[in-house]
Point group: C2
Chain length 343, copies 2
Amino acid sequence: MNAEPDVPAYRAPTLTDVAKLAGVSVATASKAINGRDEVKAATRERVLKAAELLSFAPNALAQGLLRGRTGTVGLLTSDLEGRFSIPILMGAEDASGAGQVSVFLCDARGDAIREVYHVRALLSRRVDGLIVVGSRTDPRPPLAGTIPVPVVYVYAPSANPDDISITVDNVGGGRLAVEHLLACGRRNIAHITGESSYKAARDRADGAVAALADVGLSMLGGKPYYGSWHETWGRAAAHIVVEQHPEVDAVFCGSDQIARGVLETLRDLGRDVPGAISVIGFDNWEAVAAHSRPRLTSIDMNLERLGAAASQHLFAAIDGGVPPTSEQFPGRVVMRDSTAPNR
Amino acid sequence: MNAEPDVPAYRAPTLTDVAKLAGVSVATASKAINGRDEVKAATRERVLKAAELLSFAPNALAQGLLRGRTGTVGLLTSDLEGRFSIPILMGAEDASGAGQVSVFLCDARGDAIREVYHVRALLSRRVDGLIVVGSRTDPRPPLAGTIPVPVVYVYAPSANPDDISITVDNVGGGRLAVEHLLACGRRNIAHITGESSYKAARDRADGAVAALADVGLSMLGGKPYYGSWHETWGRAAAHIVVEQHPEVDAVFCGSDQIARGVLETLRDLGRDVPGAISVIGFDNWEAVAAHSRPRLTSIDMNLERLGAAASQHLFAAIDGGVPPTSEQFPGRVVMRDSTAPNR
DNA sequence: CTGAAAGCGCTTACAG
DNA sequence: CTGAAAGCGCTTACAG
């Protein structure tokens, strides 16, 4: 049908091709290209020129076979779709990309079978290490079977404390949020958050409670308003809070989406934010936090940094220097317009 | 510091190990494992058992070297962060994962230099093909240099029409949106959309204009309200539209975020949606469309399907059967509560 | 400074 | 049915 072959029958040039063109042995060509100094300058010139001419790129498979190191890493995520995997993945990719490593991406879709399958494939490809990123902060079962390469768990820690897990400090995050609210002069603070089955929700609440206790306060209503992570719950819960505790002067929300809902209800109710009530979200999800009215102050958990750290720990483990350990990252408050009046 | 070595000095078992344990030659072991039928059943049994025992996984590097095919694909994205890459990537991963292929993920961060760098690395790793996903629908320059493997461009088409590009039909999407509004009985339709420098914005507008022309109508205001993709513009533009054209009974928004802004202003203005005014968004971004008040009807461009198609086309090109061609995918309207009264 | 040889882990004709 | 040999593309001692 088509005269032009769309798949070029083009064979990738090999070192042998380069050597032939340069009139040297493969051994010499190899040395020249790899910058070994036991090669005459003129020879190196010729080899390099030949390589250039053929657009020679050394076959990484052959190199990997020889070296016993492939310069590849497997990134196993359980939900690509989720907002949390991506920044982590970007951080990991960046930290790797700088060097010479390529990353295999696998999405197990939260399915254990698929995970096993992917791990097997990655091991077959002889990755130098594995990064496992989960979408919830609840501990997850460690990878099944004996894994002959280092593994680093990110966001979702491994249930095995001997494994290396890079996590986010949600307790600290909750504390940060409440401390910011206190700094804004607020004292009657409610906490509206997601499903209590999530460790993330419970941890953030614990941090909030602790920060309040530090100054002799407790949460409005005595405990968090657990519900769902969505806007809808934020809207509903805000109504409840205002009704039950008209003195409320701040709301710490477990997610930015909840905060959006809260903001909307407070507008409907004619309560001024941040004049009368401060609202702080969690996640610092740009798309929702930066364009609300008023723009939302939120806690950013530095997920990208988490990913970068995971890569660094993994490489440390691969290189076998100082044994890397688990690490927990603090968040930071990103202040916008919903927490303090701008005077 | 640590008695337990965290990096097992464990050497991955080879076919030789398996053969030795089973008491056969590597050749025979290979045949047994690969299901060749020139092996006695009992022998095969022994080999398989040995492989099992050692958790033997064939070295894919060696196999790739031999076969001249690695079963890997490079996925080159220009912005992981963007909401568009992910579903495409998921589709591609799924379509691949089913078989035996692993995908290398590279994010060029919109940087041409980085892109060249990644392509070089991928080629060095002897990927069987490349998928290039862009974040805008504007044509992009084709990959630089001679690429010895098939390449499929997704979302952002290659500027070279001879290349294979899998794209979204934005003109059709715009048409779909307006046709839905017309079906809801609306006639005074305004179009608020993103920056006119985006081909996506212009295409959607063109489709909308065409659908209106088909029934002898034109856009309210005579042309689209171009601005930005954000909520903020949606809020501002809605004010303008209502002021200039109080008869407005529908708004087609170029993005779900714009639509959120429009919804908010209409609420402030006391205009009932969908009673008095229908609002339709674009992208069907679950997080924003499904939780607004009212829930937002939107155009879904089936990005995941796009990714899957890209993979399929790529494999077709790799296998060298029927030459794959460019393809454009239609969208679909996902109806929620913002376009028609629920009676 | 250069090149012949061995070998990384596998598969595939080819003998036996 | 089984195994010795060659070879995929490279690198690295080891001679010369």
